[in-house]
Amino acid sequence: MATDKLEPRLVSLIDDEKRRASARGMAAEAVDQEETFDVTISHRESLQAEEVDPQDRQAALRDLEERTREQLQPIVERLQGVAADQQVKTHTLTSAVTAKLTPSQMEQVAEIDEVELIRVEKLDKVTTMNESVNVIEVPDVWDELRLTGRGVRVAVLDSGVDANHPALNGKVVDEISTAGEPVNVPGDHGTHVAGTIASNDVVFRGVAFQASLVNIKVLTAGGFGQPQFVIDGLEQAVRRDALVANLSLGWSEIFHGWVCNDADCILCQAADNAARLGVTVVVAAGNEDSLAGPGQLNIRHPGAARRVITVGAVDKAKQLAPFSSIGPGSGRLSPGSAIRLTKPDLAGPGVDIVSSVLGGGFAALSGTSMASPHVAGVAALVLEAHPDARPVVVKKLLEDTCERLPFAPDATGYGLVNALGALLRELPTK
């Protein structure tokens, strides 16, 4: 079968089906004739819409639709020839058609010169930013309350932000590296986190898309760091007047052998001090699920710190992410008490989040690292509305207005952060 016009993952999908068919005692060739796949067939020449003023948009769209239909005619005719009862969907904004075809039919369609590529239409599990912000009711805050994070400085303590990414254009207003690697060496992780907070892309829009970012590079581009890099980074967040700091990182008792008896290790101490100095510190809980062995805890550090907002992860269906670290944290109810404090404090969307990555594109990542910047973004919205709110007040407000979830407090704390709820509620007096 000619496969040069078939997308590689479509070829491997067909091969997988053939292997399954063989395992069931069927001839692999039967897949070529009988098994159908949803595919999109693109024309070798792309069509461009005219650049028009808004009042001429509809006319230009009709014109494009007509030109696309005409261009796609040979492909549609071939489709009707190889699969007469075929339902074909012709696209307008891109010169392509979608249909359900067997591999044998794909081969026949691929024979004509007009076909550039046949790609599989597979349900990929991706939560784009426009979905995840809906889950926590951010668009209502933008549209109804006109809050977008404007004027709020959010420090991103991470592997470095690609300030040249189109979605982050003009966002980074200050930067420094404490990681021993130049600040102009950005990382994918930091760029993704920054996009979730403040991307100004039309589709993948950040939670607080008009907030300003302070790029504090505390990790190498590959995500490696030392505790003192982070402690120094928190100090820089204070010195550079950040109102919010996001830390999608942490030292694990399980993986790094980190020791913290009562949320009082140097990382927790520094994070709590940054909060005392006016920075709302938002930290990822960790991706340890409930792996902890005897004498260990799953919540990372400084996520265990008392004054920070520690964030677990859920998916867009508001189900607990299987990796999200289960509490409690290392903090004790009182000195020497055997009772540990509940962590995480709340949860955010953290499964298959599509946000900005190096090179100007977007990609899906999962982790409490992705949940934390959603909450940092909501904190920025709150601080736009209440610039004098202390971190402890912001934390309490976000906790009080969470959407309750049917999970144990040690899994998702008070529940799922809810931007609209937080912005409609009066500030607590704590």
């Binding site: 991470d158 990790l219 003192q228 999608s248 990182l249 790094h256 980190w258 290790c265 001090n273």
Partner: protein, 116 residues
């Protein structure tokens, strides 16, 4: 043998480096002091930070002197928001400094992947 103030990961790292054949290797550590860094809560954040820096550096002075006596010549990195000092120490230096009354714990500060 340790006195309970040294994280097991520090000893493991020194063992690992020795097993690689390095004579008397040095491990990157953070020495956490007994007295925590305390923010006063008065004045602007910058003023509070300046006061904290002054206070913490004063608290760290005796330990810095002891490190110098132990032969640590590279200037250790002094933290501010947490009362800690970062340095690279040999096993002998780790053991010696861990008995100092100002020391609470000694953590490993090796560069590790920590993204979540």
């Amino acid at each position: 043998m340790t006195n309970g103030r040294v994280d097991p990961s520090v000893i493991q790292e020194l063992d690992r480096l020795e097993a690689r054949g390095r004579p008397d290797p040095r491990a990157p550590v953070i020495i956490e002091l007994v007295e925590p860094a305390r923010v006063s809560g008065e004045g602007s954040p910058r003023r509070q930070l300046a006061r904290l820096e002054e206070q913490v550096h004063e608290l760290q002075q005796r330990l810095l002197e002891r490190l110098h006596d132990l032969g640590v010549t590279d200037p250790p990195r002094q933290m501010v928001l947490a009362n800690g000092i970062a340095a690279e120490l040999t096993r002998g230096q780790v053991m010696a400094i861990s008995t100092h009354p100002d020391v609470r714990r000694i953590h490993l500060a090796r560069e590790e992947r920590v993204t979540t």
